[in-house]
Amino acid sequence: MVSLLMEIGIVLGGPQGAGLETSMHVLARALARRGYGVIADREYYSNITGRHSYIHMLISSIRLPRSVRYPVEILASMDAETVFVHFSDVAENGIIIYDGGQASKSVDDVPSMEGYTKDRVRGVLTKLGVEPTVRSVVSFLEKDRGVTPIEISFASEIRKVVNMFRIDPRQASRYVSGLIVSAVAIVLGLEDKFVRYGFEQQFRERRHLAEQNMALYEILRDSMANLRGIAKLSDPEIGLGKVMLVTGNDMVALAKIVGGLRYQSYYPITPAADESFTIEKYEYSELNGKAVGPVIVMQTEDEIAAMSSAIGAALAGARSATATSGPGFDLMVEGLSWAGANEVPVVITFYQRGGPSTGQPTRGSQSDLMSTVFASHGEFARVVISSGDHMEAFYDTIEAFNIAEKYQVPVIHLLDKFLANTIASVPTPSIEMLRIDRGATSPGGLSYKRFDLSSLVSPRAYLGSENTVMWYSGDEHDEYGHIVEDPEIRVKMYSKRIEKMRIILEETPTEIKMGIYGDRDADYIIIGWGSVKGVALDAVDILSKKLRLCYINIRLLWPFPQKELLDVVRSTPRDRIIAVEHSYGVNIASLIEVTTGIAIDKKVAKFTGRPITLNEMVEAIERIVYRNADRVVLNYGA
């Protein structure tokens, strides 16, 4: 294969703990520096060392990619397991990079593979008439699929660097990640300076590692001279002078800091904890003499304390948030209802993972929609918003605080593991256009009534305001916050809290409620939310040659923007609306039915814990449109 491509898909695979994430960062930085667009989904087990993990990338010379797809042009494997579980992901005429030292390994020699996976792989190989060894699989790919095999003896190449720098041989395995980066960079024909940039950025505080990895790259570059640039991207034409290379976790963390977060609580949980780590790194800084922060990042004893203390900080006037996933959110629900009862502006950043129970701690899902909308006892106003990509996540994080403070409600910002962990090159957000809205505040005073009934949103004084005393209670309370069981006050107070939802719906701009992409008079309308956005938009583009499609990205999930949705779909035949979600139930369809009365029959579901890929999405829409399928369940991906 020697070709010039506009986009290239890559899978980097290896055991957890072998430095795959480092490979991803180095490669992504090098490519972004060159001006290419990058997106990379990270798939990994709930495990620290040894289980199979992989990075699924798409790189582009013409745009910032927003989804990943199969097959991929390059499979770079650190180990035998990667070859066995990903060989069928490689495109015809693609490339497979593998370790010559593991070529004789068979499926039976790989203890980290689950029995079910081994059986499945053996079954597939048996049907193809291929022995279950790395060498046989590679030669099958070469003969039947035109794949270029690139065998590298990892041990002997790394030994050269070990000898050159007198590195302790026990440290040799640390260089596998650099070797993978080098091999891929060579195949892509990246110039040396970009590879160097990648290593130097990655090892900013450990220059010697950058040098050693660069030496490894040069050794490989010379020995692979005939393979250099065999899968070359065309010159970049995206046109951005600079980009950010960030995960969804990073984006939310940065936005919280910009948006004035002052208290963040969390209990360690995947895939939310990285966000808090990032905030903690910036808890206090001084920039040209200006203080940024302080943000107190509090690792609490559990999620109950995380929620409770975030509420406490909000009462004292701090912009306050907590970040969690499904199991943690469950523990926060009693606090959520206290925040609803006491009209506390607090933000819960909720990264969904596979449930129920511990479920799939490191895999993605969108199965907690109903939980966030309906969890807790009693009725009160809450807001649930979701973000479709990294940029939306940034702006929505700030919007979440604005909504929380403007309406004095708890806000749940519903994200997922896919977005949390996916690294993408994106434009730098526009800081100048951001707004911070703290809502109606009051200086307090001797006659201050925290829950003054003269308006739906009572002006807020903070605990500690001069000459002001106020009360809060989870019990039904009067305007001062004192417990009351009088039926008339109960009705007034209870209604006041709930009726805020009406003004939230009235005052929230349509573009915050939903994004509408494509043709409003489309043949088919696809409806989704959160991380479905990128893959749906790409599918709409691909199919645009033969179908007029529209994608509706619902961002305000609660209170549900029924009017705006009805405006778009009112005249669309019911069998021409398709709901898509990473769940079994495609629950957004139920939420739409409850709020608008429109029953959606066509559904695309995926709940393997892996993201919907572009090829799957296109195929699913085609099955619905051309073969009249009602429900398509997707399951591709190791």
């Binding site: 910009v258 409770s308 009693e334 989870g474």
Partner: protein
């Protein structure tokens, strides 16, 4: 002359007549008066149960929180605005049953918060179930059978969790309790007062009559000195406190068990990381100027430069 602040609200106090909580309420109000606490800078955070209502009866800021969660609510308030005096009130079921994890965590952190535990041995507001301080085998009148669970020792738990001020008071020894509350408020760090509180309706074993006979003051011993005066005395004083904390039944000590101001408070630990804290804190730091973030585009890109890649032409 300026009118003195009325530290009691005008609400009718709806505890049972004769409840130990009245003694605690009076002691709290007297302590606040004598310390001259600014009501707008003082917050009572309470849990759920009879004791939880105290937040409404005292005329300072009150946060009547969730069952078991008064401590984390208080923590958020205090860390966000360290200039506030924050006092937690909870029952023994609240603090040592459903909220025990938070109690231990507060000790580990040594945040400058006072915890006053209304210890009556029962869950009063749900009609007298056994609480975590009711000893094994005791049968109070609401129980169908003797208590099948062991009691936790609040003083020992507080000591081992890291509270740097640990005391016990008795609800009907008002002057003594008031002094303990004042000391606890003045203490720098996490302070705990276990208050023996007769429940006149549901606890017919640990009654006022019972306590009157067995309670004695640690200060009766002129040599009793619970204060760690030099850091290397901490272990010795802690062991003595534990020994006294084990006394129960015939003679029950009240007073101060342990004081150690040599342990850095959480606020001081935070100061090491954000050196303008606590004077610049979450509650008083600027987050917007004219409705815009304090960071400019350029400052954003400078602060987060590690995420930004300039494309090389």
């Amino acid at each position: 002359m300026e009118r003195r602040h009325e530290y009691k609200t005008s609400l009718w106090v709806d505890w049972c007549p004769g409840c130990g909580n009245f003694g605690i309420l009076t002691a709290v109000i007297k302590a606040f008066e004598e310390l001259g606490l600014d009501p707008s800078k003082t917050v009572i955070v309470s849990g759920i149960g009879c004791s939880g209502k105290i937040a409404h009866f005292v005329n300072v800021n009150g946060v009547h929180a969730l069952h078991g969660r008064a401590i984390p609510f208080a923590m958020g308030i205090k860390l966000a605005n360290p200039n506030l005096t924050v006092i937690v009130h909870g029952g023994d079921g609240d603090l040592l049953g459903i909220g025990a994890g938070h109690f231990v965590a507060l000790g580990r952190r040594n945040i400058d918060i006072v915890v006053v535990m209304h210890n009556n041995g029962v869950y009063g507001l749900t009609k007298g179930q056994a609480s975590p301080t009711l000893p094994l085998g005791v049968k109070t009148k609401a129980l169908a059978r003797p208590n099948i669970q062991q009691a936790v020792n609040p003083v020992l738990l507080a000591l081992s969790s890291g509270f740097t001020f640990v005391a016990r008071g008795y609800a009907f020894n008002g002057v003594h309790l008031k002094e303990l509350i004042k000391m606890a408020i003045k203490h720098r760090g996490a302070a705990f007062i276990d208050v023996l509180q007769p429940c006149i309706t549901f606890n017919d074993v640990y009654t006022a009559e019972f306590y009157r006979k067995v309670v004695y003051e640690l200060d009766e011993d002129p040599n009793w000195d619970p204060i760690v005066r030099k850091p290397d005395e901490a272990k010795e004083k802690l062991l003595k406190a534990i020994e006294k904390g084990l006394e129960w039944a015939d003679r029950i000590p009240i007073g101060v068990f342990y004081v150690n101001e040599h342990v850095p408070t959480f606020e001081e630990r935070l100061n090491k990381r954000a050196h303008r804290y606590p004077s610049t804190n979450p509650a008083n730091s600027v987050i917007e100027v004219g409705g815009k973030p304090t960071l400019s585009q350029q400052e954003f890109e400078e602060l987060f430069k590690e995420y930004i890649i300039t494309v090389e032409k």
